[in-house]
């Protein structure tokens, strides 16, 4: 066992998969430059030296390297593509959505695209174009699996499961969760370290995780919002409201078994999402709850999300944009009384 942050756990996970399977390689911008950074968030730091020729630095060409990952995957490789900031997925989305996601179906089940796309998201003082919550744009794409990791244990286990999966898998990571110390410290960074087992393990790509048990209200979140939900649950407990916190984790498909089991206990649910409310993943989850578990609901579904605006730069507005612990607490209080 060792304690690691998300960046280190992903790094080890990638290294172990590359050691296990020669078909695995990494592709992206600034991921293996000598004297460089190992990607914008240090995830691949040192891997280029360990795996010569298998950490491929590309030109700034997201559509291009994503398409190359798709093509290489079709020919038997298992690429892990690195999108420096999730916002640039818009450039790569044609290859992801029109090619990677549909190739299996269009080919009548004859083609496999076993690729991974990793991308960091989150509002972090960088302004509107380096901040967006991108999950929403990919969760409705048939043929793509979408996961979001909120702690180091999951990050490593999900990365490994994604590499071994025969389908395109998108892994969303949060800039404020890579690490909260040293080079990775930035304002608002949260401790997402975990105890990491020495032995090989995977975390399934289609399961939510109950992070805290409670019987009065269920709070659903992912990425940074899982941590905020946990902090809110601690405060709520002090006033006698026992919140159950679920890390949705698998955003496509969504695990209604785990969510449903929780709702049968609590009958009340809050979905917390960083990102505009309209068209968010929380909208899909709310609709899914109505379809799968409306019998359990004792009150309408509540959402805590960002307003329908681009991410502002100025810290006062950015903090107001991002759902926070007080807003979750307030929503839970009101719902518990309902």
């Amino acid at each position: 066992m060792k304690r690691q942050g998300i960046a280190e756990a992903l790094r080890d996970g990638i290294a172990e998969e590359m050691t296990r399977d020669p078909a695995v390689f990494c592709i992206g911008e600034d991921i293996g430059v000598p004297g460089g950074w190992g990607g914008a968030f240090t995830v691949t730091l040192g891997l280029a030296e360990k795996f010569p020729g298998r950490i491929i630095d590309t030109p700034i060409a997201e559509l291009g390297f994503t398409g190359m990952a798709v093509g290489a995957a079709m020919m038997g490789m298992r690429p892990i593509a690195d999108m420096q900031y999730g916002d640039f997925l818009f450039l790569a989305s044609d290859q992801l959505i029109n090619n990677a996601a549909k190739m299996r179906y269009m080919s009548g089940g004859t083609v496999k695209v076993p690729m991974v796309m990793r991308a960091p998201i989150g509002a972090t003082g960088r302004g509107s174009q380096h901040a967006q919550s991108m999950e929403r744009y990919f969760t409705g794409v048939p043929g793509l699996k979408v996961v979001a990791v909120s702690n180091a244990y999951d990050a490593k286990g999900i990365l490994k499961a994604a590499v071994r999966d025969d389908n395109p898998v998108m892994i969303f990571e949060h800039k404020l969760l890579y690490g909260s110390k040293g080079a990775r410290a930035e304002p608002g960074a949260v401790d997402a370290t975990s105890e990491i087992p020495d032995e090989d393990y995977v975390v399934p790509l289609d399961r939510a995780a109950v992070r805290r048990e409670g019987k009065h209200v269920t709070i659903l979140g992912w990425l940074l919002m899982t941590h905020y939900a946990m902090a809110a649950a601690t405060l709520l407990a002090a006033e006698g409201i026992e919140a159950e916190v679920i890390d949705v984790r698998s955003l496509s498909p969504i695990d209604y078994d785990t969510i449903g089991a929780s709702l049968r206990k609590t009958g009340r649910v809050i979905i917390v999402e960083e990102g505009p409310k309209t068209g968010g993943v929380s909208a899909e989850i709310a609709a899914g709850i109505m379809e799968h578990c409306s019998d359990s609901l004792m009150a309408p579904v509540v959402r805590v999300a960002s307003p329908d605006v681009p991410v502002p730069f100025t810290p006062i507005l950015e903090n107001a944009y991002r759902p926070d612990v007080p807003r979750i607490v307030e929503a839970a209080r009101r719902l518990a009384q309902n």
Binding site: E29, D30, V33, P34, G35, G36, W37, D57, T58, P59, I60, A61, E62, L63, G64, D87, F88, L91, G125, R126, G127, S128, Q129, H130, A183, P187, P307, D308, V309, P310, P312, F313, T314, P315, I316, L317, A320, Y321
Partner: protein
């Protein structure tokens, strides 16, 4: 690299000193901003342009006030050269409502349409098709304006470069494609990502003129930009201007540039655009070192006052969060 062929003496004294003043303004602005970041008083992240002052100043000097520029994440120098004030920029960096984008843009999206600068576009190459579109509007409206589109060597690899440049070419659009080739895109050196590292060569394959000049010689840049602007205004655009330069500072806030070779850094530091221009100015005979010192002292004072004001500038209220989304 083309050698400087335009000594400062060819220009009127005040005109030449203005170039110097603008470059020093950019340098000192950037140095102060860096200090404020390290000190922890300024929020966000920064991409700075120390060492590249001559490209911004030389190009913008060749433009008219109603011409436009588009810029990138590394836009502070472009903004100052296009006439944004120190105050509106510092206010923006401090997230104040008096900033050029009311604090909503920040460092990477600096701009002011009244001064002919589109808010910086932080998506690499994202400004190229957009600038071509602006130039298309000028052509359709028969307006005599031009757009100077700043981008880095890294942008050339993006699909947006090809698409935007090709359309600018086939429709002869008045856009000066200004590639600031500082040898690196983030940590990646151009020789790793370009088989032909001469960016201006690409122009010929699209059927228009490109040229590469010393981007650390402000008068050379100015002369090249003037030629380009004239051609664009005469309906003979676009022009691809490759300006060879070097970034003296990190790619962004915390970068220590370990990927840059020491001898390369030293060679380029010896070609600093401000120091070189100072030598040219002093050689004229009618400019003294104390003239140059006085310019710097004035600028330092201006920036100090600007910082004091920006720290007191009004911060937004929550009501501002949802304004400005739609026109």
């Amino acid at each position: 690299m083309t050698k400087s062929s335009s000594p400062a003496a060819a220009h009127d004294r005040a005109f030449a000193l203005k170039f110097y003043e603008q470059m020093v303004l950019i340098r000192e602005f950037e140095e102060r901003v860096k200090f404020l970041f390290l000190e922890g008083t300024m929020p966000g992240t920064i991409h700075q342009c120390q060492g590249q002052e001559a490209t911004a100043v030389g190009v913008c000097a060749a433009l008219r006030s109603d011409d436009f520029i588009t810029s990138t994440f590394r836009g502070h120098g472009h903004a100052l050269a296009k006439g944004l004030t120190v105050q509106e920029m510092l206010d923006e960096l401090f997230g104040a409502t008096t900033g050029c984008c009311k604090g909503k843009g920040g460092s990477m999206h600096m701009g002011n349409m009244d001064k002919g600068m589109v808010p910086g576009i932080a998506i690499v190459a994202g400004g190229i098709p957009l600038a071509a579109g602006m130039a298309l509007a000028f052509k359709l409206q028969r307006r005599p304006q031009v757009v100077a589109c700043f981008f880095g060597d890294g942008a050339v690899a993006e699909g947006a470069f090809h698409e935007g440049v090709n359309m600018a070419a086939i429709w002869d659009l008045p856009v000066i494609l200004v590639c600031e080739n500082n040898l690196y895109g983030a940590s990646t050196r151009i020789d790793k990502v370009m088989k032909n590292p001469r960016v201006s060569d690409r122009a010929a394959s699209y059927g228009f003129r490109g040229e590469t000049v010393d981007g650390n010689d402000v008068l050379t840049v100015y002369a090249a930009a003037q030629r380009a602007a004239e051609e664009c205004r005469a309906g003979k655009g676009p022009v691809l201007l490759e300006l060879l330069t070097y970034r003296r500072t990190g790619h962004s806030r915390r970068d220590a540039c370990h990927y840059q070779a020491k001898d390369e850094r030293e060679a380029w530091f010896a070609r600093d655009p401000i120091e070189r221009f100072a030598v040219q100015l002093l050689a004229r005979g009618d400019v003294s070192q104390s003239d140059l010192d006085a310019i710097k002292a004035d600028i330092d004072q201006q920036i100090t006052t600007g910082v004091e004001n920006a720290k007191q500038a009004p911060q937004p209220t929550l009501a501002d969060l949802t304004t400005d989304v739609f026109a």
